[in-house]
Amino acid sequence: MNPFQTYDARILEIKELTPREKLFTLRFVDPEINKEFTYKPGQFVIVDIRGFGEFPISLCSSPTRTGYFQLCVRRVGRMTKYMHKLKEGDIIGIRGPYGNGFPMEEMEDSNLLLVAGGLGMAPLRSVLWYALDSGKYKQIYLFYGTKSYEDILFRDEIIHLLKHGEAMNCRVKLAYEVESPSCIYLEKGFAPKVCKGVVTDLFRGEELDVENTYALICGPPVMYKFVIKELLDRKLTPGRIYMTLERRMRCGIGKCGHCIVGTSTSIKYICKDGPVFTYWEALSTRGLI
């Protein structure tokens, strides 16, 4: 078995989420692989655009919904530009899933607090769906910080949850930075769940049952420190703070060395030991956040 070999997957659907992000729904061409393919929320795959290169991307669908999987791809570099040019029906290569993923079983019967910033919504959507579908979690909170109305990923789903989330034990809150008529409409319609500000502003006025809550964070590098401070101020144990991190993962299997972080006492491969880490690990591995 060559771990660098990728498997054909057909693009079933492409949905434009924002001017920069597209949602690709995929299925493996080989039905056997399709049947065997499963993953944990928080894991990622390596996308192979043959003849052009590979790049890692987190899975944003949930393993509870079988027969397909989804990738939310932001057009930021050379490879993602190629990806955005693809059409429905095209075939790409996929290998994975890689990484450890979130410990969904360990968190059962607890509250989940998902804190997402920007594109960090993609891997956390996998957790959100998983939690909603399985029904094994108490209260689910989603705090989502976005730049503007146009940048809200999975906008339909977010608005649906703003409207009907409470009935599913799911409380969604949204913070935006750039004002626009659409945002003001949202703010009026869903006060106080939508506000202008950054994601940490969403903690205001929320009572967290710290004994019984796990926090799951994903966002741009700058976000972690602020969100973690907010959680620690509320006395959440570091072991209950999970975060999923980004690095330059080339191989995905702990060989190429690009995603190594840490110092002489603790070296971690983000692709193999992560990308999900607890805050305890961040305390003992310098450079993790």
């Binding site: 660098f4 003849g51 930021v76 570099g77």
Partner: protein, 334 residues
């Protein structure tokens, strides 16, 4: 371990017999440097070499390595494996290969590396340290395993340690060339090792090294060397344990493409750069320090990620000395 003696007069015949096990590569002097090259006769080999510029890792992780070939829209595995005999590998380099084994043979196994490892015979040779060597400090100056045969110099031949089944097979096939080891041979062997042990000029203080470095994250020594370091990545290329690689796809023609990996260096600005422009190690300071942290990482099961071969010192155009940097960091912390 099985020990046999190879008398000097049989050495050449033994060397020639190795060709039946694969293409023989051995250290050859080229100008001022040594290099593992294909050899046909013993005369071409520099037995008293100090160190080659590129370590033997080049045979297992090629500087430029084709992983997959795209044919008719499908990736095909590139499966060319050559049977080789690496003759004259020093102990530190054998340890270096074992560190690479830990990475490439961990699950999921890298099939290219594994194939090449399985198709290679490693014949070690004893050596004398020069001013750059500090393998003794790291315990890599003597190889207990990781070789098929290891030749230790005696006044009238070689004491041969047989380190693997393949080594036994080679010794078996050449049974007539070997003799029993005598008490005197053992005496000479011990004398050589004692002399060698006393010849090291450079010592690395590895006591609490990993913790010491971790505490010295903000040491001014890093900043001093950041200004001296050229960021060229030479130290990575010549290091027997550096293994970072980059992957690229190339088109051969309109229908065929290859996926190639090549050596990468953590001194390159692109090493920690992700799409979107965020760099997790944006400054040379970050990158310089990272290399020292990576090399001095201590794994309880395998030791440090450095084998003390001295290549990074010898081939550093800025004359930065690995041990000196670590000593200065330690000194600054006191």
């Amino acid at each position: 371990m099985r020990y046999v003696k190879l008398p000097s007069e049989n050495f050449e015949e033994f060397f020639n017999s190795l060709k039946s096990w694969g293409t023989v590569y051995a250290p050859v002097k080229q100008g001022n440097i040594y290099s593992f090259k294909q050899v046909n006769t013993l005369g071409e080999v520099s037995l008293n070499y100090t160190r080659t510029m590129l370590p033997p890792k080049k045979f297992f992780v090629h500087p430029k390595d084709t992983l997959l070939k795209l044919k008719n829209g499908r990736w095909e595995e590139s499966k060319e494996v050559e049977k080789i005999v690496l003759f004259g590998v020093h102990s530190c380099d054998i340890h270096g290969l074992q560190i690479l084994d830990k990475v490439y043979l961990a699950e999921p196994i890298d099939p290219y590396y594994k194939n090449r490892r399985e198709n290679a015979v490693i014949i070690g040779i004893s050596c004398m340290p020069d001013e750059y060597c500090f393998c003794k400090s790291l315990g890599t100056h003597f190889a207990m395993h990781g070789f098929d045969l290891f030749l230790h110099e005696l006044p009238d031949g070689w004491l041969v340690r047989v380190g693997s089944v393949k080594g036994h097979e080679i010794a078996w096939a050449n049974e007539s060339l070997f003799e029993e080891v005598t008490e005197e041979d053992l005496k000479h062997f011990k004398e050589f090792e004692d002399k060698r042990s006393a010849s090291f000029k450079k010592h690395l203080n590895k006591e609490g090294l990993a913790d010491m470095l971790d505490l010295a994250f903000d040491s001014p020594v890093w900043k001093k060397y950041e200004r001296i370091c050229l960021g060229c990545g030479n130290c990575n290329m010549v290091c027997p344990t550096c293994r970072c690689y980059e992957v690229c796809d190339y088109w051969i023609n309109a229908y065929e493409s290859v996926r190639v990996r090549r050596y990468d260096s953590c001194f390159m600005e692109t090493h920690g750069l992700v799409a979107g422009g965020h760099n997790f190690r944006p400054t040379r300071l970050d990158r310089f320090r990272h290399r020292y942290y990576c090399k001095s990482y201590f794994d309880p099961s395998a030791g440090f990620n450095c084998v003390g071969c001295g290549r990074c010192d010898e081939f550093c155009p800025a004359k930065i000395e690995h041990v000196k940097v670590l000593d200065e960091v330690r000194e600054e912390l006191k």
